[in-house]
Symmetry: C2
Subunit: 489 residues, 2 copies
């Protein structure tokens, strides 16, 4: 049976650590950041997605009697801890960047501030959900960008990595800009447009292609998209489609919304030839839809060659983000305090790889917009209690090559805090917009990117800067750790 309750959707070590904290009682409240290190597909940005499902997961968190009995059977957990689990619920705070927002590496997409046991338990599911949906939303936005205004249909359900990958992948694809999905369940769950016509099997189950087309046209005269490549696109499919369009138009001069779909062969050549034939027959306004192993690079290339396709169906490469199937988001401890203390103590994780060193402290993010154009100048990660004055000059610097600095003149920029409260003391204080509203948000968000950052290949990176204060805290911690390490040698 399909699992409805996701409380056990976690790594075992979260539970063994929880019991560890339970047995060595602590009043520690911790800050965990969920962030990623590299944009998918070597792009210039990513799209945050999945928050609505994270909220549902957190709200529903509870260990059923069944869950507790299962855990007891593992012979790892003591009765007192299992009893604690029985009454478990989330009591912490969560902050997150709203879905559809453009985001950049190293900035927390989501922040959990909670007692250590609670913050630890939720790690795996939060990452699973955010990683998946942000990946697909990002991929979709790239594919939509390549199509330069043509509609992109998501139809990868059959190739998705399981039912949820199809359901939530289609949701994320629509947030990223797809005009619709073939996935009926996603349509029902999230109120997004569903689309589709027929398969090769429809054509093959009739005595001939013309009869199959004609039957379909009579059934769906207002959405008559005919699949023309079962036998031969130019010698059979397109001529039969034209014959049917003519007959339909004779019957009803208002016949419209018709077109063809090509699912194999060279799409540039076939679409151009098909357009010539349709145009000559008086159907120059026909939709020419294409599918077949498409992704942003192939669409870009087909358009550059003058393909006359104006509607694109994208399956496998979008729903799996084939050239980059993992987002790589991580969840790292950033700060600790005793329950009654005011201030958090920043924590850092070292790594031999400098880019993997974490940013310590209880932080937030400000986005710096150019006042004149509304475009993003940079993002600034800082401590939560820092304030900035938009009328004053701001110096931002490259977070890796810190000698690269830029001054942003006071009065020429505006600031927006990206993290918004989602849970406070365990209660949800955030209402998700609808998926179609998120799509609109995401479209506007992408307009705040400079064209150089949206480029598919080798885009300009957006600066994600650290505030002076955060930079100093980080440097000091690194220094201390490095001295400790020397002591050990």
């Amino acid at each position: 049976m399909r699992a409805l309750d996701l409380t056990l959707l976690t790594d075992l070590y979260e539970l063994t650590m929880m019991q560890g904290y339970f047995k060595n009682p602590t009043d520690q409240v911790v800050v965990f950041d969920a962030f990623y290190r590299q944009n998918p597909c070597d792009g210039g940005y990513a799209i945050a997605a999945g928050l609505e499902q994270v909220i549902e997961y957190i709200r529903d968190l509870h260990f059923s009697p069944d869950d507790v009995e299962y855990l007891r059977g593992l012979n790892l957990f003591d009765d007192d801890f299992l009893e604690y689990l029985r009454g478990f619920h989330f009591t912490g705070d969560i902050y997150a960047i709203p879905e559809g927002t453009v985001v950049f590496p190293r900035e927390p997409l989501l922040k959990v501030v909670a007692p250590v046991m609670e913050a630890q338990l939720v790690e795996t599911a939060i990452l699973n959900i955010i990683n998946h949906q942000s990946l697909i939303a990002t991929k979709a936005s790239r594919v939509v960008y390549a199509a330069k205004g043509d509609g992109i249909m998501e139809f990868g359900l059959r190739r998705a990595q399981g039912p949820d990958a199809g359901i939530y992948g289609a949701r994320a694809a629509v947030i990223g800009g797809c005009v619709g999905t073939s996935n009926v369940l996603t349509g029902k769950m999230f109120g997004v447009p569903v689309k589709g016509t027929h398969a090769h099997s429809w054509i093959m189950s009739f005595p001939d292609e013309y009869t199959a087309f004609k039957t379909y046209a009579n059934l769906y005269p207002n959405a008559c998209l005919l699949l023309v490549d079962t036998y031969d696109v130019l010698d059979s499919g397109v001529p039969n489609a034209i014959r049917v369009f003519k007959e339909m138009k004779e019957k009803d001069p208002n016949f419209h919304g018709y077109g063809i779909r090509i699912d194999s062969g060279d799409l540039a050549y076939l679409s151009k030839k098909a357009y010539e034939m349709l145009e000559a027959a008086g159907f120059g306004d026909a939709i020419i839809s294409a599918s077949s192993d498409l992704d942003e690079y192939l669409i870009d290339s087909l358009k550059a060659q003058g393909a006359t396709i104006n509607s694109w169906g994208v399956g496998t490469n979008l729903i799996t983000s084939k050239d980059c199937p993992a987002f790589g988001g991580v969840y790292k401890l950033a700060a600790i305090k005793d329950k009654d203390d005011e201030d958090f103590v920043p924590k850092i994780k070292l790594s031999e790889n400098t880019e993997k060193i974490t940013n310590p402290g209880n932080k937030t993010i400000y986005r710096i917009y150019d006042k004149a154009t509304g475009k993003i100048r940079a993002d600034l990660i800082c401590m939560v209690n820092e304030t900035f004055d938009e009328s004053k000059d701001m110096i931002i610097f490259d977070p890796i090559e810190t000698w690269k600095k830029t001054k942003i003149k006071g009065g020429t920029y505006t600031l927006r805090e990206l993290l918004v409260p989602v849970f406070q003391k365990g209660l949800c204080v955030y209402t998700s917009p609808s998926v179609m509203e998120m799509q609109a948000i995401c479209k506007k968000e992408q307009e705040t990117l400079w064209p150089e950052t949206r480029r598919l290949v080798n885009p300009q990176k957006v600066y994600v800067d650290l505030s002076d204060k955060l930079y100093k805290v980080k440097s000091q911690l690194l220094e201390e750790m490095s001295m400790k390490a020397l002591d050990l040698q």
Copy 2:
């Protein structure tokens, strides 16, 4: 809310086609084959998986009043068709290759024989489930093969493409040979071993690494695997682990099952140095576990360099099958008959790409084993009513380059039919083994492969042959189609 009912987990075109068949009534019973065209990761074989979930899906198929109202709202479907959906259930037959079996391109992993409307509806979900789980089971078997007997732990949940990809991906990984998973929910649902210890955050939440280790060791003295790379593997982590192991051993001479985990840095170098240090301290039998972007190629390469790792945790690259994240299974119409006819009429789909031309007819598959070794000689796709005599010679030939022929002498081989009945007249007639039983089956199955076929890179392909009868039917259909196409020009 999470979807429990997967009836609408289908492409819209399945429903628009269904209404088409409904409005143009037909008594057609059809045969659809679900098969794939290329082994994942350019390997020599794949592992079939996902059947148990397909069975659940077929059994649960029903349109709820809610589903019907949603579909009505799309303004595509008429009342009579919606009324039909309200009473819909699956009444056909399904045959499939059991989970854990090694399989090869172009052979049907699953075959649906049903009224056309039913067979059409189930296409998308069947492909989604089989594609996903077969992909991950195959990837897991490759990773397990590379580890040459060391245990492989699946722990990719946080990077899986949504909850189901984590849940069923871990299930498939265990079928493919993983000794366990970190995913607690998969453990509960399928009774497979769950494993895990602690994260960097555990170490960081204590004043120092030694205290964190010691606390953990006291909690879990029989599963004391310490993560040694939070600060510095060789200067801090391993010395602190040895100190704790010594103290534990002093307290209890039976202290065992201890070890370390390395999650970053050069795993060959670090594991060898760590082993030297452990060995010198009298802990040469410690588990040395490694994780960090592992896959079959890296494990193979680390072992070739003499890494002293004896337990491997594999995450992202396994759970997403990163270098090949889609299985590419398709579902193609193979034959049609009127309900009361005895014989099916074979159907074929042409394609400009020869490899994409389908195999027509109502078929089955026989596996030909070498009697002496039990290894696979070839698979034979044939019509369902064909019989073969194991005492007679058999000529098999390469399905693409048909001039390559081999004779298998009568008496030196045995035959096994791969497709087994799963549903008959809508009733399930198959009981799935447990996942751990499937793992055992899968292990034995892989032993029927020649070593040349298991090789990770450029393996020898196994012949999947067509019977004479099937070959003739296919050639004749191709000839007919090609004559028709000439007529059209």
